[in-house]
Structure formats: C-alpha cells, structure tokens
Subunit: 165 residues, 3 copies
C-alpha cells in the first residue's frame, strides 16, 4: 500500500489480492489514489488455470479518482490475460476455462519447450487489456459484467496495472 515513487507518486502499488473472494480490499481508510498516474496491484493465483475477479479493486481506484474517462486494465504477462464476463454464475468461468482448454489443449503439438504454449495462445486470443469508460467515478459496466484476471499458467504471483485517463 506504499507508493513506489516517493514525493511524486507516479506509481502506486497496492496490496496483494490473494485470490477470488479473498485478498486485501483497496477501500482501506486513508488510501488516496487520485495523485497517482498508474496503479499496480498483485494477484496471487492458486491453479494453473483460474479466473480471478478484480472488479472491486478497479472500481475502488476509479471511485477514488472520480470524474470521467477510460479505465485501462493492463496485464504485463504473456501467459495471463484479462477479460470482462459474467459475474453471477461461477459456471460461466468454469465453462470458459474448459472450452479454451478444449480448443487449445495443454499437451498439443507445440515447438516451444517450456510447456506453456497453450497459455501464450490463450493470452493473445483473450487479450491482455480491457478498456472501460467511467463517468462520475463509476465504471459503465453492465449489470452482469465483472473484470477477470485470467491465469493460464499458474499458480504464480502476478500483477495487474490500471491507468485512468
């Protein structure tokens, strides 16, 4: 929760988000984020493939920032991604991981020797950023939309970055 850069906090690093439905909240008292340009927080994944709901983390940053603009959530990894999908029924998340695996199996015909080519391909198909308009400090997400960090080669300590413009 301490700024990475000192007096001019271009970056602000936030607490680890341990896992879905867990982890630190960013709504902690005293957290001011409006003076930062880029926010980064950690995501600790627990499985090889997993979707982690980071909606509330991003919403807290947008709320503290206020005003209007575009929230860009960026994942600086090549075997992970970020997407927006249904937040109501967890089976949707299971179905997505299941079908991505069906389309691009882990033990496919790959040349890349690290054994995670499937993860790289999934990352490019799903994409490593999402872009959400916000107005008056609230993202314009639909009723059923949540923002999900997509782990395709975990478990690992990962990072997500948020820029508000």
């Amino acid at each position: 929760m301490t700024p990475v850069a000192g007096s001019a906090p271009l970056f602000r690093e936030h607490g680890t988000r341990a896992c879905e439905n867990g982890g630190a909240t960013l709504r902690s008292p005293g957290l001011t984020v409006t003076d930062s340009v880029l926010h980064t927080f950690q995501v600790r994944t627990r499985s090889r493939e997993e979707l982690v709901d980071i909606t509330s983390d991003v919403a807290a940053l947008v709320s503290a920032h206020g005003g209007h603009g575009i929230a860009t959530v960026f994942v600086p990894h090549t075997s992970a991604a970020v997407t927006i999908n249904e937040n109501a029924d967890r089976d949707v998340q299971r179905d997505m991981l299941f079908w991505l695996k069906k389309l691009i199996p882990e033990s496919g015909e790959f040349r890349h020797a690290e054994g995670n080519s499937d993860a790289h391909i999934k990352a490019s198909l799903v994409g490593n950023s999402v872009t959400v308009p916000f107005v008056d400090g609230r993202m314009r997400l639909g009723t059923w939309q949540g923002i999900y960090f997509c782990e395709f080669d975990g478990p690992r300590a990962r990072r997500a970055e948020v820029m508000l413009r």
Copy 2:
C-alpha cells in the same frame, strides 16, 4: 434522442438502431453531442447470432465531436461483443458467425444452465470494446473496416456506449 441527465448531459442516449441497414440515423438536425461525455445508443437484434454494422453511428458521434483522440466503443453485455471487420462482402460476417459456432457450438459440454455459455465464451474471445484513433473528427478506419456489434444470444434489445477522449 433526449439526454439522460438534464442540464449537464454527461450521458446522451440516442435512438434505437433497429438492425443492419436500418434504424435511426444520428445525423439528425439539431443533435449536438460535443457537450456529452458518454454516448449510448440501443441496438435491436433480430437473430440469436448477428453482426450489426454500427460504423455510421460511431462516425456521426466522432464527426460532431471533432478534434483528435481515441474512440472507445464499449458493449455492456456478457453475451454480446464488438469487433472491427470487413464491410464489403456480407459473406465475411456469415463466415465469422459460422466458424465461431463451429469452434464453440451452442449445445456443447457446458455447466452453466442458461444455455448461453457459448455466447459468453465468444464474447470474451471477440472482446467487448474496440478502440479507434480519430483525427479532425474522422476515425482512422481502413478502407474495408467497419465496426460491428456482435450479437451471440439474441434477439434482444442491446446497448452500445461510445466515449471520445
């Protein structure tokens, strides 16, 4: 065509776009959009799977706004998406829907009980926003590019949002 918010029109709701090659034009006289932050318009789809060309709607907003920046088209649904693809031959659109269905069939092995898991997965693969630079009030779309609202679980009354920054 009336603003959602009153004196300070942060939002402006535009007429329904009934379907491809139909629907209300946004170039109607008297429509001023430059003072709005976010534009939202409705898309009425007619089939379970359908691509609706919304290029002219977005272009009208960009033209009324003028100047330079980035147009973000955002779809606030989890079983619909938005993409940029060829606007010349309608067979391209048919081929895309056909192959998405081939990759992720409607009656696949899903756990989600609502019968639209395929739509959720397609939405995450295609993505729910597109980003287009504009200069002097004109989007930098290539000659053959059009912006398509992607319905994967219609027919429904849908919404698309546009923010210009």
Copy 3:
C-alpha cells in the same frame, strides 16, 4: 520519415519496417515526433502468415513523446491484427500461427470468395488494436512482452498506426 501534413503535422509517416529483425529504426537522430497526433508506419510482410515485432518502433515514439498516457496501436486492415506476446522464444510465435491455422484452416468451409475468410476471422479473434500504458516515456510492458503485427493474408505492404494520449 517526412511528415504527411506540412506545417501542422497531425500525421507523421515513418519509414518502412521491412520485416522482423530488419527494417528502418525510428530512433534516427533528428526525428521529433512530439508535435504529431498520430504516427503511421509501414510494415512489409513476407509470408501469408507472419508475426512482425514492432515493439522498438512503438517504444521509440513513446520515448520521443515522453510523459504519461496510453499508447494505442491500431491496425487499419481486416486480414491482419496486432497482439502482445512473448518476445524471447520465436517458437511461441510459430506455435501461435500454427494453432490459429489449426482452429481456422485456410481451406475451410467458407462462403466469402476471396479465399481469405480465415484471415478475417483470425483478425477479429486476435483484435486490431493493443493498448499499453506508459509512464515517463516508457511503456509498461512486462519483461517478456513484445508487440507483434500479425499478418494473416500476406505478403503485403501493411500499415500500423500509433496514437499517444
């Protein structure tokens, strides 16, 4: 390397990037890009399917621009795309092209008569823009991330556009 527009260079066209690991560098002395709104450079591809690393081109523009913001790389074509993926092992790029071809074969069941429906579908799945935050003139790419122009129907003379906001 000469501006497209004269005294007020809204556009600036940069030299051709011939192919991966080749082509003109944009880091040439005297290149000033901070006064331009949109940058466009050419990408000459050599194969039907190919990934061309354009990271250094985009990084040079961001560096010359400086400051903080979002870099949008936009591809104005419907049978090409842009993605972020691993820059270390070229087998990752080969695996991605191989598996995209496996999912959507060139000679599939298509109605579009031009013989490049597979390319259009791949373009929509991979997407035709990427969005990268930058701080102090440096993109926030992860260690292993590179930006790749994705040719799906080459060889051709292509274009990529970059807007920094």
